[in-house]
């Protein structure tokens, strides 16, 4: 018996996506695996690339607004707001206060709706199916509010350059207050049903921990960055719109793991409720839109604005050459930068954890690929 026993394992390649229940869209992850352990994860993008930055060069400023809805399609209001602010900065236009307040109310409602779209599927990644339905039940109420305001449920185009398109419909304020009351109870339910579950805690605690330095190096923003302990939020740091008139906290985590990202987002939802309630109290009367010409032709120049969307910082950089169409537009999307930490976080994790880490980063492929 001089036969040597070769006891080795073979690495293999696992293709996760673009059609996979947990890649939340058309993301493809290329995984180099050793058994269940992921040695290397490389995201492959571009399956939803629609070339919006190039399209912008052949559209007038108002025509491009509906395209922004399709960037981060679960938080269209925030996209509208960022784009409108950039064009307004080019035009040096003043937005009336009532419009600013309505924008804030809508953006914060949309933040809650967006976090709910994250919360449900994230629980589903963990195998719990029921929270999904609970989250979408609450989201449905927000969508009903949006529908009453602008007739749309997903791609709103509610904000326009210089203000908002329509005033708030009758009964909107009361319904929103009612929603705020209802949703506070719901948040407690989520915390006890999901956040208090020991399996949930075991699965998320310490998984995919991101250090503050790495998060900053990779350009992460939003809840992913705040979960690491960095108190960075555009709404507080460089208050845009009328955010400096409200009292709210910036929830931050400690370790930057999946559990912290979960907790930061849940806390953000209750902070958003605070902002909405204050904005409803202070909502001034007056115009809802600045007086602007039909065809918008900014002076030659450039402008960059950046706002805090539910996923992080969304920036629009627009170069104008004085014509009715932008000369160049660059969109800085938070999902794209946040996604870049996936190879770092997934190294050495099990395939089950890759799924939840990816879920906790909360990417929207429309925002990643543009």
């Amino acid at each position: 018996m001089n036969q040597t026993i070769i006891n080795t394992t073979e690495e293999y390649f696992l293709n996760m996506g673009p059609q996979h229940p947990s890649t939340h869209g058309v993301l493809r992850l290329m995984l180099k695996m050793d058994g269940e352990v992921v040695l290397e994860a490389v995201p492959d993008l571009g399956y939803l690339h629609r070339g919006f930055e190039k399209i912008a060069e052949s559209r007038t400023y108002s025509q491009f607004l509906p395209f922004t809805d399709r960037l981060d399609y679960v938080a269209s209001m925030a996209n509208n707001q960022a784009y409108c602010m950039a064009v307004e900065k080019l035009l040096k236009a003043e937005v009336p206060p009532r419009a600013e307040y309505i924008r804030v109310i809508m953006a914060e409602l949309n933040r809650i709706a967006s976090h709910l779209v994250w919360f449900g599927p994230f629980a589903m990644d963990l195998g719990a199916i029921t929270p999904f339905l609970y989250a979408f039940k609450s989201r449905e109420m927000i969508l009903d509010l949006f529908e009453s305001a602008c007739g749309q449920r997903l791609t709103y185009s509610y904000m326009k350059i210089g203000g908002v398109r329509w005033d708030l419909p009758e009964g909107f304020i009361e319904k929103t207050r009612e929603f705020c009351r209802y949703f506070k109870g719901q948040l407690d339910d989520y915390e006890t049903l999901v956040g208090g579950n020991i399996i949930f805690l075991e699965r998320t605690r310490g998984v995919g921990a991101l250090s503050k330095e790495d998060a900053i190096d990779y350009g992460c923003t939003g809840p992913v960055l705040r979960a690491t302990g960095a108190r960075h939020d555009k709404r507080k740091d460089e208050p845009y719109s009328v955010y400096n008139e409200f009292e709210f906290d910036i929830p931050v985590g400690k370790t930057g793991d999946t559990l912290d990202r979960y907790r930061v987002r849940l806390a953000e939802m209750s902070e958003s409720l605070k902002i909405i309630e204050q904005a409803l109290d202070k909502l001034p009367q007056g115009e809802i839109s600045a007086k602007l010409p039909k065809l918008i032709k900014p002076e030659p120049g450039e402008a960059y604005t950046c706002i805090e969307t539910p996923r992080g910082e969304l920036g629009f950089y627009i170069v104008s050459d004085g014509t009715a169409k932008p000369y160049r537009m660059k969109i800085r999307s938070s999902s794209f930068s946040n996604l870049s930490v996936i190879p770092l976080l997934c190294r050495g994790l099990k395939v089950s954890d890759v799924v939840i880490v990816l879920g906790s980063i909360d990417i929207v492929l429309g925002d990643v690929d543009r």
Partner: protein
């Protein structure tokens, strides 16, 4: 009235009548006993299929209520025929065999899984004397046969020529070695109390309400229930399927009725587990009078299944290594301790 209380009498009557008629034809008697086996098998299969269809409906309606939905309510009364419609649909669908699959193993796998689940019913008494074959080693037989199903899952995962299926199959094998040991050890302490491996005798030993093993062996009950949930691949232990990770795990590539057979086997396994829980811990068919024994058995069975369904729609999933930790580091020592304590108690008595 006595026929309602002892259904076995009906079968005895029918089969003895059949034997008389058979003698009149003059055909050999061994042929009659073969036919009898086929008939009993068909009855069992029919009952299991009907029960599974009911369970599918029950699970869908219950999960809908847990999730503030309505659930299927169109086909038949309150959607009760939805499962029939689904099975007809599955029968009509194409059976796809993936390219480069190991065809023989691929086709056999669902049969192995289902046969393992089906064969366990043979030794399962649901009422006094109402059992196909009253093995003296009944519980041992059921435990060993139902763990054969894992081989089918492994076959399905291996032969599908799909990496997700392969991971699912491997996970299933790894899962089995972690839950099977505490499961058997938990059952062992009950066997020590009852002094028999025969399920009918184990049930007979729990005649009084406070003799039910759930009161005398609460730890064994918990260990068995957790391990059994892992055995039937249901949440929080549906690791081999893990929809969000492995698309559908070992049965990703199966379509049509072959997928349906996996589905059928899953629910059949669930009923086996619920029946064992009922027989070992909940006093089997012993009730509080006013209903026939089989009704008490079914009520307890249904309650256990309800709990399993409840688990599934409430909990998130464990990770593979966490399940193994649970099995090896928590459940197995606890089960051993339980046996030790039970032994000492019996020794002192």
């Amino acid at each position: 009235m006595k026929y309602i209380y002892d259904i076995r009498l009906i079968f005895d009557f029918v089969f003895s009548l059949g034997a008389r008629l058979w003698e009149l034809t003059g055909l050999p008697l061994w042929l009659y006993s073969q036919i009898k086996i086929v008939v009993i098998g068909s009855i069992l299969l029919g009952v299991i299929s009907l029960a599974v269809m009911f369970l599918i409906w029950l699970e869908r309606r219950l999960s809908a209520h847990f999730q503030s939905r309505i659930g299927p309510n169109r086909v038949g009364w309150q959607g009760s025929l939805q499962a029939v419609a689904d099975i007809v649909k599955l029968l009509a669908k194409e059976n796809i065999t993936p390219a480069n699959a190991d065809v023989v193993v691929y086709l056999l796998a669902p049969m192995v899984v289902f046969a393992a689940a089906f064969m366990a019913y043979i030794a399962l008494p649901v009422a006094p004397r109402l059992v196909v074959n009253n093995f003296s080693l009944g519980i041992l037989y059921i435990l060993s046969i139902s763990s054969l199903g894992v081989i089918g899952i492994l076959m399905a995962g291996w032969s599908s020529n799909n990496k997700y299926s392969l991971i699912g199959g491997m996970r299933s094998a790894a899962q089995m070695i972690s839950y099977e040991i505490p499961l058997v050890l938990a059952v062992l302490s009950v066997i020590m109390m009852a002094g028999s491996l025969n399920l009918s005798e184990i049930v007979a030993s729990q005649k009084n309400f406070f003799d039910w093993h759930i009161f005398r062996q609460p730890l064994a009950f918990l260990i068995y229930f957790v391990a059994a949930t892992a055995e039937i691949n249901r949440l929080p232990f549906d690791i081999p399927e893990a929809e969000s990770e492995l698309t559908a795990g070992f049965h990703t590539e199966y379509s049509g009725i072959r997928f349906g057979i996996f589905f059928l086997a899953e629910f059949a396994n669930m009923m086996i587990v619920a029946s064992i829980v009922t027989s070992l811990f909940l006093g089997g068919w012993h009730g509080f009078g006013f209903l026939p024994p089989i009704a008490w058995f079914l009520i307890k069975d249904a309650f256990t299944i309800f709990t399993l369904i409840w688990f599934r729609w409430t909990f998130p999933r464990f990770r593979m290594d966490q399940l193994m930790n649970l099995g090896w580091k928590i459940l197995t020592p606890l089960a051993l301790l339980n046996i030790f304590v039970t032994g000492i108690r019996m020794f002192i008595k």
